[in-house]
């Protein structure tokens, strides 16, 4: 589904990602862990197509296509979704209008007629239930005045509405209390199936108790330094990121 080969990315002339290799197949859940500044969010943004990142080397193939030539909206149509670490507040743009526009543009891309107002509302209601989002969305602007927890639930709700093939969840657990974390994780698990794939980016092992990954990758100083199964996350939790530092020193 997704293949990243030797990806080197710089921001303002500074190399952030220094040769990433990663392959994700459908049905898989991958966790990417790593300390602050290791390049996790950069990787997420590059995948979603944000400006300001220079691809120095490497390539990314998504569903057999060169991802890097696609606009952010095209990536979305092809099934890529980014759950933002910091969901953006958009005053004056209502959630309903935002989602309806998004969904109908997806449908248009797939040569489907737009949803009627009632179909849309029904779908919205259904997906809200699914992910446990209790916030009233009508008459509210996108993320405006949402609590930290609501914002993150809203991301998963949008994922449920758009049904992506590959969801990248960038620190979806940050800022969540344990109850909210369970709700969010539970929502993600319901959306998980054998046809889609998920990349979970996180600092902490805690989220992985609920969203159990097939693979865990440790990103450190712009490189994936270790790959393992879910026990790697536990090991990391025990030893801390210092462990990577000492391992690296040993190697050199």
């Amino acid at each position: 589904m997704l293949k990243i080969e030797n990806l080197v990315v710089s921001v303002d002339g500074k190399k952030i990602l220094k040769g990433i290799n990663l392959e994700i197949k459908k049905g898989e859940v991958h966790a990417i862990m790593g300390p602050n500044g290791s390049g996790k969010s950069t990787l997420a943004m590059v995948l979603a197509g944000k400006d300001g990142y220079t691809i120095e080397e490497g390539k990314i193939t998504f569903m057999g296509e060169n991802l890097l030539t696609l606009s952010p909206e095209e990536r979305s149509y092809k099934g890529l979704f980014l759950g933002f670490q910091y969901p953006v507040e958009i005053p004056g743009v209502s959630m309903v209008n935002f989602l309806k526009t998004a969904l109908n543009q997806h449908r248009k891309y797939n040569n489907l007629p737009p949803l009627s107002a009632s179909e849309f509302l029904k779908l919205m209601h259904e997906k809200k239930e699914l992910v446990g989002l209790q916030t009233t969305l009508t008459n509210r602007s996108v993320n405006e005045g949402f609590s930290g927890g609501e914002k993150k639930k809203n991301e998963i709700f949008q994922m449920a509405m758009l049904q992506p093939k590959l969801a990248i969840l960038d620190e979806t657990d940050s800022g969540l209390d344990i109850d909210a974390l369970k709700i969010v994780a539970n929502g993600v698990n319901k959306l998980r199936n054998s046809d889609n794939a998920i990349i979970v980016i996180t600092h902490y092992q805690r989220l992985l108790d609920y969203i159990v990954p097939d693979f865990v990758h440790i990103l450190y100083k712009g490189k994936i330094v270790k790959t393992g199964d879910k026990y790697l996350a536990l090991e990391l939790e025990q030893k801390g990121y210092e462990w990577l530092h000492s391992e690296e020193t040993l190697k050199s």
């Binding site: 197509g49 606009s71 909206e73 953006v88 958009i90 004056g92 743009v93 996108v142």
Partner: protein, 452 residues
């Protein structure tokens, strides 16, 4: 070598002398006197140049370089406006009245007007209602030094007179449609006088249209008096063609506990200058003054506001927002003046500008002058682009770039449209704004007028 504005001044002076009789025909004597006073000031001050602080960002040379005819006789064209003009706000039930080239349209059918409201041409009012007319007419304009306003007093021929008697509440909006129609470039002067009596309510919708692609230079002055407890909603849609220029001055005097809610939408029009001069003269009076203006190509939209807080316990709130495409420019020059005794004043002013190209320019000069010590005042100005993070967020959800921009711009402008009442008018203006943003607003759907 004399410059253009000096030449134009001389030209106006000559027209005035040559047409003295025509100008004052059918008007009571005090009009001629008012014109003389205004002329003296105009002679002294000349047309404002960019050296004048209030016109620093607004170059009148650009509009006076054209050669306009000035027609002082009554409405030239005997056209049937009902055929040409059909306002397509079907569910919007309004009392509608038209002016053409600055003259009250003689076939205005003002049927079923409620008791207690007088609407007629300014000229008629001067003789039909001499007491009320002479009591209010020119009382605000006379104190202005702006030559654009004085020029209007010198040359106006007609306009709309509205008098809402005490305790009269008019639910239905009153719609004034100002139409410019001429085969040659025309200089139009229009003068309106609006008096809203004690406890009276009025909801005005004013639309400016050009019917044809000639260049028009319209100079309109509206004096508005809000008596005790009076309430006025005033919505203006400026939608003239882009060859035209409009110099509009709204001068308002508000008495105790009066309330005004003014929203100006400048959609099209090559050059638009709006002066708002507001005197809060009665305690607990309140004004909301908002503007939304969209510029493209070489359009220039300039809003000048002066709110005089002359007494305590008044409140004013201003919000002006621009969206500028291409090489368009906008100017906001706003002043809040709080006099020494105007304690407990609340006065707020905000100007936001979005510039969408490297060539568009927004000039902004928020200004507070406060002599009282117990007041709440604020002013601020921002100029920037659309929020990149919001754009990316939307695009990542599949909303394409153009649509995402459109949603953001719409949301930005909607903060002002929000204020419009009734609901049906609000949604109509939302629709017009949306069309304007998409670049396909030239006319209302059913109307034969091709405004731009």
């Amino acid at each position: 070598m004399t410059d253009l504005l000096t030449n134009v001044k001389e030209k106006y002076l000559k027209i005035y002398t040559d047409n003295y009789d025509i100008l004052n025909n059918d008007y009571p004597n005090f009009i001629a006197f008012a014109r003389e006073q205004a002329l003296t000031k105009f002679k002294q001050n000349g047309l404002p140049t960019k050296k004048e602080e209030n016109y620093r960002y607004t170059d009148l040379n650009t509009i006076f370089s054209k050669n306009y005819e000035l027609n002082l006789k009554s409405s030239l064209f005997n056209i049937n406006l009902e055929i040409l003009f059909k306002c397509d706000v079907p569910q919007l039930d309004t009392h509608i009245l038209l002016t053409i080239n600055g003259h009250f349209y003689k076939n205005n059918k003002l049927e079923n007007l409620p008791e207690g409201i007088v609407i007629c041409s300014l000229k008629d009012a001067s003789t039909k209602y001499p007491d009320i007319f002479s009591k209010y007419f020119n009382q605000l304009a006379i104190n202005q030094n702006d030559s654009i306003i004085n020029l209007n007093t010198c040359f106006f021929q007609d306009g709309v007179f509205i008098y809402v008697k005490d305790n009269t509440v008019i639910e239905k909006p009153l719609q004034i449609v100002n139409i410019a129609y001429s085969l040659y470039d025309l200089n139009i002067f229009r003068r309106n006088l609006i008096i809203v009596g004690e406890n009276a309510h009025i909801n005005l919708l004013v639309c400016d249209h050009t019917l044809i692609k000639s260049s028009f230079l319209t100079n309109v002055v509206t004096e508005i008096f809000l008596q005790k407890n009076a309430v006025m909603k005033y919505t203006r849609l400026q939608n003239e063609n882009n060859y035209s220029a409009q110099l509009s001055s709204l001068i308002i005097k508000q008495e105790t506990k009066s309330n005004s809610n003014i929203n100006i939408f400048s959609l099209h029009g090559g050059f638009v200058r709006n002066n708002f001069i507001v005197n809060l003269d009665g305690e607990n009076s309140n004004i909301n003054l908002n503007g939304l203006y969209i510029g493209d190509y070489n359009q220039h939209v300039s809003n000048f506001t002066l709110i005089n807080h002359n007494v305590p316990h008044c409140k004013s709130n201003q919000l002006f927002k621009s969206i500028l495409f291409n090489e368009s420019t906008s100017a906001f020059n706003g002043k809040i003046f709080v006099s020494k005794n105007a304690q407990k004043t609340e006065a707020y002013q905000k100007n936001n500008n979005i510039i969408l190209t490297p060539y568009a320019k927004a000039y902004s000069k928020p200004h507070l002058e406060i002599y009282a010590d117990d007041v709440k005042c604020s002013h601020g100005s921002t100029t920037g682009q659309l929020d990149d993070d919001a754009l990316f967020y939307m695009r990542s959800r599949g909303i394409n770039y153009n649509e995402a921009r459109h949603l953001l711009m719409f949301a930005y402008g909607d903060e002002i449209i929000e204020n419009i009442y009734p609901e049906i008018l609000k949604s109509r203006i939302q629709e017009l704004f949306e069309k304007r943003l998409r670049g396909d607003l030239s006319k209302c759907d059913d109307c034969k007028i091709h405004c731009a």
